[in-house]
Symmetry: C2
Subunit: 177 residues, 2 copies
């Protein structure tokens, strides 16, 4: 499933150049994350040169998918917990504090990879996400991302700001679909 509308579509322009998921990075991977019920989903089709050994996907690309889908899922969860729609102000943009990937089996080339995220924890400035990377019907990798709200000074025009946030609440099912 390729999302029609993704959280990355709402990242402010000055923080939308990420190589993994920034819509304004012409060289980038353009990973896009959206809700699918209570899970989040992103789909990435590796380019033919994103190989580890011939026939299998490069682990660093899988880590990149987990990374950006982790921060995207964190933003989705933070908006949902705040009871706000992406695109409303102030924008919420997360960075990765910690990334873990277990490679369960070699990931075959030539088919789209689906990353599915489950929100494990939402705090005011920190969201934890578990992610499975699936090729066809097989789970090839399991990831975990600890994402933190981007500090205000990292956005060039100050558009990304910490916001008052209910925190410690569980995500509820409304929000971006």
């Amino acid at each position: 499933m390729k999302p029609q509308v993704a959280i990355q579509d709402f990242y402010p322009d000055d923080v939308a150049h990420c190589y993994g998921c920034g819509r304004l990075n012409p060289h980038g991977l353009h990973i896009r994350s959206a809700w699918d019920g209570d899970e989040t989903v992103a789909v990435l089709t590796p380019r033919e040169y994103h190989t580890a050994v011939p026939g299998y996907v490069y682990g660093g690309l899988i880590a990149s998918l987990v990374d950006c889908h982790g921060t995207g899922s964190a933003a989705l969860a933070a908006y949902r917990v705040a009871g706000r729609e992406p695109g409303t102000s102030p924008p919420l943009r997360f960075l990765t504090a910690s990334l873990k990937v277990d490679y369960l089996r070699p990931t075959p080339m030539g088919i789209p990879l689906e990353a599915r995220g489950r929100i494990k924890e939402v705090k005011p400035r920190k969201v934890v996400v578990d992610i499975e990377v699936i090729a066809g019907s097989e789970v090839c990798a399991r990831g975990n991302v600890v994402a933190v709200l981007m500090p205000e000074h990292m956005a060039s025009d100050g558009s990304v700001q910490p916001t008052r946030h209910p925190g410690h609440a569980k995500p509820h099912p409304s929000g971006l679909s």
Copy 2:
């Protein structure tokens, strides 16, 4: 320090196409790992589009550096423990089973990143490596890689084979420099 001779120079041709470190992947990052005393080192200069937010390096690229320098360091350590030089037969080639990266601070663009590895454990089919990613004089990320010997069937011509291996021994200081 950019190594003159790296372990990846000795990967057999049929497993030298890795996007991160394969010398035969024309689109790849060409990460190259070598001993520096009892540590391993690799240097990567991010391309201008390898950005997270403007001015800072993409976390997925840092994960890729940790990933490939982890498997490269594992191969270096396995040859050293086996008392063999890279390039001798049978070749030893490792894959990543597990990858962890803690991002300690934003990593600045525009300067080379140095990854320094410390071998934590060497077993017959498994090597564990701790890696620091340094920009200038600052440690920006800390990684850990569990690398496993590549199964024979993954090499297209069977050139990469499990080998008899002393295992459980600590690495000693001889080997590729």
